[in-house]
Amino acid sequence: MTVAAATSIDLAPQANIQLKLLEEASLARFIELVRHPAINPHLPFAPDFPESQAREMMSVSANPQSGCYAWMMVAQQDLREVGVITAMPVFHAGCLQLGYWVDAACQGRGYATLAVRMACALAFEHLGMARVQAQVVPENTASARVLQKAGFEREGRLKASHRLNDALYDTDLYAKVAA
């Protein structure tokens, strides 16, 4: 699979989700998931996340040169788009940072863990990444559990490393390195 062809990831055929690169048909659902009142406070996006910003993320994601990706998590069972996972390079080209969120009504079903695993497989096996990382606020134990289950290790707590709505938060840095 080439990077350019990574419009849909089906690395684990038995899995109950698929990752589908953000495209026009999913844009409205993507915006809905970003603006969702139960999710939005945790995301680095405004509550009235504008469509223009969603379109920009879509076009950046469609350009393999950017190294940035936004995928919809699609449940295989009913093809419902249950969440989003994003990836962008940090600090150097060999390191990818993940962000993910799942519709409040669909949480607790292991979708995020599966999506993180799939993104890691893509990063290590197809994109040649040396390291995949994610930052979570310590209170978000559900998110930390996702990372632990996906084989990430906590490397440390980074003080005042996350800014959200003009407030600063510490984050725990989790990472997984290539075998």
Partner: protein, 181 residues
């Protein structure tokens, strides 16, 4: 005749980088004891320095700034080191890098440089966090950071490019940081 020790009183000054400093900068980076700890080749490739300097001054774009360090009480010494920073995150955190020429190490210059930039960033420029990455065996640099009030937050695996020439060779580094009170 009696000999009395004259206490060294450094008066460190950080001079914003300008093109006339290029020769001095190249000279600093040509010292293997400096470049060994940096991702530059030895001797540094012209293009590597160009690449670093290409981002100087583009504050709005990369948030990259760079200073040459001198001691006003030792004007004949020339520049004794250099320090730079790059804004990251949502431009609320700054990553520092620095070096002191071997002849001027052990005089506290490194600590003074880092302390000065830390104060400027956090107290004057409104940054929330200053951070630096350091190799676990770079004991001198670790001492500088700790004396300047930075704390070790963790070991980041395969996070740093050892040499630009070989981007696949990634090394583990400590993350040190200090935040605004």
């Amino acid at each position: 005749m009696s000999l009395s020790a004259r206490k060294l009183q450094p008066a460190l000054e950080l001079v914003p980088y300008e093109p006339s400093h290029r020769v001095a900068l190249e000279l600093q980076l040509s010292d293997a004891r400096v470049s060994d700890w940096l991702p530059f080749a030895h001797p540094p490739e012209r293009a590597e320095i160009d690449h670093m300097l290409g981002e100087v001054g583009q504050e709005a774009k990369g948030g990259f700034q760079f200073w040459m360090a001198e001691d006003r009480n030792r004007p004949q010494a020339g520049f004794i080191g250099a320090i730079g920073m790059q804004a990251t995150g949502y431009r609320h955190l700054a990553q520092l890098f620095y070096w002191v020429l071997p002849d001027f190490q052990c005089c506290g210059y490194g600590t003074e440089m880092v302390r000065l930039l830390r104060e400027t960033l956090l107290d004057d420029w409104g940054y929330a966090r200053a951070q630096a990455l350091v190799a676990p065996d770079n004991h001198a640099s670790i001492r500088v950071l700790e004396k300047a009030g930075f704390e070790r937050e963790g070991l980041l695996r395969r996070y740093f490019i050892r040499k630009f020439a070989n981007p696949d060779d990634l090394m583990d580094v400590y993350m040190y940081a200090t935040v605004k009170e």
